[in-house]
Symmetry: C2
Subunit: 423 residues, 2 copies
């Protein structure tokens, strides 16, 4: 058994705080540095939300460290897509034949739960308000934003769970000639809130992920425990139907009245929300390698930030935790072997889910109302029922199975070709 | 004559807006992207100040583009250091025998003037509120913080005048194996303001740079046109005398009463200012190369951020403008030759002023009250008077001469050794 080093995590978001628990359970001493303040005492300082949808890979990682049950209490099952047409008529498409669900959950509530769970371990030490200024040879420099002072730390192994704009990734990319690419979507997004109805009821079916697919753009809505829905409008920045065209109260109201008539009536302060809430961008980050020697590693969004359309960003990050824990088991905690193995093994899955997520944007906003697409979907559902070992819908593989993302992508392509030939 | 490309500057700070004028005068089309808002219409959004001291190299660059006279109207001459002892007794040390001054100037006022001067050129185009998200092969992605949209630009040549945290530098460091180092000072700093006196008068001599040298820490004060002084306290983060010790109103008042008794009486709301104003850090950035092919170049703080103790940060950046303009003249606007020549030629001066600035911290906070130091200073002043071609005080070389910083550093060392032997 190798000597267990202390591990330094940069970023106490979802992946960082969950992986800390994995590490503590393997006997490691863990220090987590986070630039934001502690969400348990200050909820203001948190980042953007985007609704989260927990599915199989996420649950599996939570289960491995005994957190599934606690998290389940915060989650609202969504059994399928509820498609809204222009007039407000709704059509339900189940996610799976067996009634499997994905689960809507609040990022802040989940992150707080994970931090609490991690902090219960004596071996895990949280350091909030630590803004990383520089990572160097054997020292990390932080600026403590509350104490307003420079803090220097000499870490052994540093794992970047610090998101799409990761400083650990930037450090790795300085040390090796990295293959790095960030691609920005032509669409931005804006969040809006549908209030709870009278007597504290949901104004839409809470057990569905609601979609208003409009080909070049779309609106989605996910339920919250307080009976509200968080909507996200995905819309191009420029062009005929775009954020560029929505610069007046009249234009916003006309757009929603025409495109999302039912939502328009559900949000009384629509234009106020529209102009107060920020428009944000979406990007895909691909990079390689994910590690440097036995010193630096990145995981989660830091290694593979993806667009949100497959609901897999968090699930992919949580699966990173599972995969990395398995490698630690396999290599008996020898990080010098685990780091390159993770980087090499997991990269193809990061690339695959990035592609799947981009493709699913087209599916959600356009294909779900396309007859040819629905016919293919029907066909594969039938084949799956006849022989689940031979056929499986792509969504099922990605969301509810243990197929790796790269296997799912490959098998999905092959099935698609066969089915197109059948129809 | 080579074809003149359009030049893209990232950062409309002091160096960016001044160099734009140099470029316009040479016939280039210039686009400047700046993440902050236009200081002419919104003064809120500006960064930290730290008093600026304009000296020879800065004036020379301003003169070259005809801006010296206008800037002179905003500047307050400081003829020397005014040393304050614990009891408030003041001793004046002139900067030069000939009565030469350095000039206190407001960063915001100067930046606004430079932006106005640049904007008067048809060839210069400002793009404010453009936050750079990514620099790639042939495209820069910005997020327009007011319009909340992604903007893509395909630049030819990109010059980073984007300060100590330069994104252009980070891009260069991705493309080549760069030699990069950022070193943080053990001291932080905090700004405080001495108000104007009754009848709108200065409470201290306005024609001096005031110093309270206390060996391990110091306070300085520079005059402003509104008759106030901006003070900066430089103090260690940790230790016996440190920001760590100043966490209560009582501790702050006791510290100032003991160490800076005269200032203590001049700032009625001292502890309020102390706890409201941020503590900030200081660092030195060294990097090489400063360019990549004929595509990217960095100058100013982006290439050589230094600590403020020689009052040379802005002057070094302005001298970069002069040096780069001379190279454009020499190589007839052929950027493919100018970029490597600037990088190679100027790097040693960036390194030299970084060293000089760090050394001057010791001089300001400690040596200015050391008898041995004063004896050496007296001796070199005498030698300089006898033979100004052979001897020149280091401060004179750095602040008032055309010696390059590297020559000044070298010649300063040699003189020092000779003088030590004489005494």
């Amino acid at each position: 058994m190798m000597k267990k080093p202390s591990v330094t995590l940069l970023g106490a978001g979802l992946v960082g705080s969950l992986f800390a628990v994995f590490l503590a359970k393997r006997g490691f001493e863990v220090h987590i540095f986070e630039k934001r303040s502690d969400p348990r005492t200050s909820a203001k300082d948190q980042g953007r939300s985007i609704n989260l949808a927990l599915s199989h890979r996420g649950w599996k990682a939570l289960r491995a460290v005994g957190l599934e049950e606690e998290v389940r209490k915060l989650a609202i099952p969504m059994k399928g897509r509820m498609i809204h047409d222009h007039e407000g008529a709704q059509t339900f498409q189940a996610y799976s034949k067996e009634g499997k669900s994905i689960y809507s959950i609040s990022r802040l509530a989940l992150n707080t739960l994970l931090i609490e769970a991690a902090d219960a371990h004596d071996a895990i030490h949280f350091h909030f308000n630590h803004n990383c200024l520089a990572i160097q040879e054997d020292e990390i420099t932080f600026f403590h934003t509350k104490k307003q002072k420079i803090i220097r730390v000499k870490p052994q192994l540093v794992i970047g769970t610090d998101g799409a704009n990761s400083v650990v990734r930037k450090r790795i990319n300085q040390l090796v000639k990295a293959d790095f690419e960030e691609t920005f979507l032509e669409h931005g997004y804006k969040e809006l809130s549908i209030p709870a109805g009278e007597n504290n009821t949901f104004l839409l079916d809470p057990h569905a992920l609601h979609i208003w697919p409009r080909k070049q753009f779309m609106l989605i809505a996910l339920p919250n425990p307080d009976k509200t829905f968080t909507c996200t409008l995905f819309l191009a920045y420029e062009g005929e139907r775009s954020f560029d065209q929505l610069t007046s109260v009249e234009a916003v109201n006309a757009f929603f009245a025409q495109e999302f008539s039912d939502v328009h009536t559900l949000i009384p302060d629509l234009s106020k929300q529209f102009f107060e809430n920020p428009t944000s961008f979406l990007s895909t980050v691909k990079t390689y390698p994910w590690h440097y020697e036995d010193k630096f590693l990145i995981m989660g969004d830091a290694a593979h930030a993806i667009v949100p359309f497959y609901g897999q960003g968090m699930n992919a990050g949580f699966e990173d935790c599972s995969v990395l824990a398995e490698l630690l088991e396999e290599y008996r905690n020898d990080w010098s072997k685990v780091l390159p193995a993770f980087s090499k093994h997991r990269k193809k899955d990061g690339d695959a889910i990035a592609t799947l997520a981009l493709n699913n944007f087209v599916e959600m906003r356009d294909s779900v109302i396309d007859e040819h697409f629905l016919a293919k979907k029907q066909k594969i559902a039938e084949l799956y029922e006849q022989d689940p070992n031979k056929w499986m819908p792509l969504y099922e593989m990605v969301t509810f199975s243990d197929y790796s993302y790269s296997e799912a992508l490959q098998k999905g392509k092959e099935q698609e070709q066969k089915i197109v030939a059948m129809l």
